[in-house]
Symmetry: C2
Subunit: 210 residues, 2 copies
């Protein structure tokens, strides 16, 4: 969800790039829309598993000129920051919310279903984050931001977690983490249904007992 490792942004600069390339469709869009369009394009490319997302690839896929992209994001860190903001918005808008009268069981299920879908859709973005986290300060910052945001939203829909011992809370959050999902998918080769069942079984063990 967080950020892209492989954006080979800094190998180009706005100045060195060929400014004669025309930005056709982009000019008609308003500035905010264009930024959004660029970010959405990058996410689409990343989710599809593209490993080398550079300015040329983004420009071609977004049907914009490279100059337009540089006008919106002057350097790699600015782009990474914007990608993180967009991911945050996405979390805030789509995370399942706690509604009145909803049983614990129902809330656990909708949370797990949401997380598993997100992990499955964004797995390549998570892999890239894992790769770049050691090398890029900005990627590490973004990853921490997303980590905290996801924890905060989990607590909102499952406030029961807060009554547990701090050490148990760590294990509960781990059950709901991308890391656990990935280990079951990649190493234990579990299917989607099996994973969801394992998560609900273990979450219940922590939260359903008195």
């Amino acid at each position: 969800m967080t950020v892209l490792l492989s954006i080979q942004y800094d190998i180009y600069t706005a100045n060195s790039y060929d400014m004669n390339k025309k930005t056709k469709d982009g000019r008609k869009l308003r500035s905010q829309n264009t930024s959004d369009h660029i970010l959405s394009t990058i996410y689409r490319l990343a989710r599809a598993g593209n490993q080398d997302i550079n300015i040329d690839v983004i420009a071609k896929e977004a049907k914009l000129g490279a100059r337009t992209i540089f006008r919106h994001f002057a350097n790699k860190d600015a782009l990474l920051e914007a990608l993180c903001k967009k991911a945050e918005e996405n979390i805030v808008n789509n995370f399942p919310k706690k509604s009145e009268n909803e049983t614990l069981e129902k809330r656990m299920k909708s949370l797990i279903s949401f997380l598993c879908n997100m992990y499955s859709r964004d797995k390549y973005i998570y892999y890239w984050t894992a790769i770049n986290i050691v090398q890029s300060e900005q990627v590490y910052k973004n990853a921490i931001t997303m980590y905290k945001l996801i924890r905060m939203n989990i607590l909102k829909i499952l406030p029961e977690i807060e009554s547990k011992d701090q050490r148990e809370q760590e294990a509960i959050f781990q059950i709901l983490s991308f890391a656990f999902w990935r280990d079951m998918r990649l190493f234990s080769k579990k299917k989607k249904k099996e994973i969801e069942e394992i998560l609900i079984f273990n979450l219940k063990k922590h939260l359903s007992t008195k």
Copy 2:
């Protein structure tokens, strides 16, 4: 523990490499010793966080000629396989064993202490594995081999795990995984002592109750 991503092995081949470079110290060692010496050198470089481990770097650090290295490992996959075998040996030899009369508590503690030390020492190797696992079939194979071997050894010292529901077993193994250790270290910024305490607390919750 498993394998190295960044070994830029295939950019060289034995034929294209300058064969005139002398192999001084290497000739005195016997073949098995030389292989071992090469592998140990790579592990030492990797553990120190070196990201670009190519033939020149290995040769220099091992005080061997590139030709000697190629004689022992003809290509990148052969080298990766050998690194995995060495890691397996390391696990088998050093994993804490279940001795008679040892309490569950004591076995849990020595297991957790062993795993945390291993994760801390080999964290860069795990990061590299995570990076390369998507791209290299051999790295993926190695990772699965290590994953199974670690699980098998955990079951030997803590046979109590096998009496648990399969779904609960997944959560128990996750508590003992590199992924959980890394998330606490990298995102929650926990200290060594805190991590060990969290692990023992949660492992006890699964295994100590009737």
